[in-house]
Symmetry: C2
Subunit: 338 residues, 2 copies
DNA sequence: TTGTACGCGTTATCAC
DNA sequence: GTGATAACGCGTACAA
């Protein structure tokens, strides 16, 4: 009930509103006398005064909140990323507003506008959009309008020209992973790729195929199947791939989540992984090492990526940092072959 | 740069500020004439006007944001809960502000004050606090102050007298799970319990021990080990438990995360799960069914719980709903014995 | 160092 | 139905 404002504090302390304001926040180059300051602070404490961030935001012209937009917070990939973001934001006294785009296509634009109207200091967009030209343009417009008002934008895991981004070298990681598999003795490759218009999946698939072609082990189109980038998608992909005349000896999935689905699909088919078919993922989400067999994958420093992209969004430093280079992690799902 | 305000829109449309305001938000019992409304809306669109939520919040006296406090967003349990919260909030046009308490004890109080100063409409506290009497009191005070200002508070998975909470019947679920295991033929039980002062773990452990005692299979103290509620903790617990003279035939973990750690610990010891030792968890986080062997556990409807607690926080309906009853899910980690 | 007064962008209370 | 105008809670020139 009792809404204590700064005026109440000022009156209680017997000082002007301005002095009270300066005392509670330590305004620059305007020092309050020690005696008055303690009086104000005491009054504030006595009254249980808590500043109104909204009013401060309006008076100062800027808020202290950051918008984080992910596809699905229950997805371990985004959850880890979000953990990094909240940690970095916390360290700077910034609040994090979380939004999910889910699968709805226009949702991203809607959310950007929502965050814009909240006057967030920055917006972090995580997760690859499914590239629809018209919506891409609309999103770019929304972001441009936001930036015109002084907002900072940073992307992670996706690109949009003119917008600072923390890129991931998906192709490079895929190349290194495929290379290692060839070295391990694998010869018949299949790919559980994500949706055809899913940028990240595309890059990973291309990297794999390029490296394998270079090694004279090109992957025929019928051994590349596109499904949703989820466990279910991976499972479905495995079902299709294991039904091919010549069974692959390794299925490379576009993400760890899909790889876990592939493992399930292999079991569905009454086969053994990695005995009959080996499996690889990408991302190294926390559970990747917990499943059986533990997943060979390309490790992305998700937590640090979250922190990095937060700095990118909060500091107007300038250009985008170098792309993240994933590290190949060999585990039980791909034992040496032959 | 060009910060378009409602005044700009009003001027552009040739109407008063008041009319513009009424046109853009559709204020109650004050209808704007159709012709003027379209003019205002057109002007707003032309100028790229986006309302300032902070200003609206100040004028209206209430914001449109909800605070969500979790222990660690990278933990699948909280991630799923958060997904439910964001979904329910989204449906009501409410923004979600995410904060992590991590392990720091006083952090929870700090965060409540932070959310208070943001004038959040509600605060959802998820995750069991480690019960320190003094800090409990301090937290209660902070929440009380917040509620006095009109804020709504809701807890999930923990209790604090006088605060609406979505409770989980941990003891009941544990009782049912233990009972099923006895029915399956298990006799030598061990418990990978969480921290001793971790409320949720306590309740689950007590439920298990009570049911087993009732079945004349009391669990001796040396077969109950307390570790952190993490994978590492579960792994450590397994190491200790498997070193006991008489090896247990099933290890019941306080959470799925710990159970996954227990699985790893069993492998560390060169044993097989469930061949040598069966394992159970609690929560049914998404990965519980993906690990090998798939985890027997008590399924909690995490997503719905997130939605429910959001309603609880947003609607001043009154009392707390009935405790959530987890459902026992039998999987490969506990095959019938004998 | 302290106080006065205005502005931040919007809603709500009055009159008209 | 529409328009002035006073709040909302705070920061900050500007003056003292």
């Amino acid at each position: 009930m009792a809404r204590v404002t700064l005026s109440d504090v000022a009156r209680e302390a017997g000082v002007s509103l301005a002095t009270a304001s300066r005392a509670v926040n330590g305004s620059v180059n305007r020092i309050v006398g020690a005696d008055l300051r303690v009086r104000v602070l005491a009054a504030a404490a006595a009254l249980g005064y808590i500043p109104d961030a909204n009013a401060q935001a309006m008076a100062r012209g800027r808020t202290t909140s950051l918008g984080l937009v992910v596809h699905d917070i229950a997805d371990p990939y985004f959850a880890s990323l979000a953990a990094g973001v909240t940690r970095a934001a916390d360290a700077r006294g910034i609040m994090v507003s979380l939004s999910e785009t889910k699968n709805e296509p226009g949702r991203e634009i809607e959310i950007v506008n929502l965050l814009d109207r909240q006057r967030m200091v920055g917006i972090i967009l995580a997760g690859t959009r499914l590239g629809d030209a018209a919506q891409d343009a609309a999103l770019r417009d929304a972001l441009e309008a936001y930036r015109k008002r002084g907002g900072q934008v940073a992307l992670v895991g996706q690109e949009l020209d003119g917008v600072p981004a923390l890129a991931v070298d998906n192709a490079g990681g895929a190349v290194r992973l495929a290379g290692r598999l060839v070295d391990l003795g694998y010869r018949r490759f299949a790919i559980a790729a994500g949706p055809v218009n899913h940028r990240t999946s595309q890059e990973r698939t291309c990297g794999i195929r390029a490296e394998l072609a270079r090694r004279s082990l090109p992957v025929p189109d019928e051994l590349v199947v596109h499904t949703e980038p989820t466990r279910l998608g991976g499972r479905q992909a495995a079902a299709v791939l294991l039904d091919r005349p010549e069974r692959p000896d390794v299925i490379m999935a576009a993400t760890d989540l899909m790889a876990i689905g592939v493992l399930a699909g292999i079991r569905d088919a009454g086969l053994d992984a990695p005995g009959d078919v080996a499996v690889t993922g990408f991302d190294d989400i926390p559970v990747a090492s917990d499943v059986t067999p533990a997943l060979t994958t390309v490790k992305l420093p998700l937590l640090e990526m979250g922190e990095l992209v937060t700095e990118l969004a909060l500091d107007p430093d300038g250009g985008s940092p170098a792309p993240i280079q994933g590290e190949v992690v060999l585990r039980a799902s791909t034992p040496p072959r032959r």
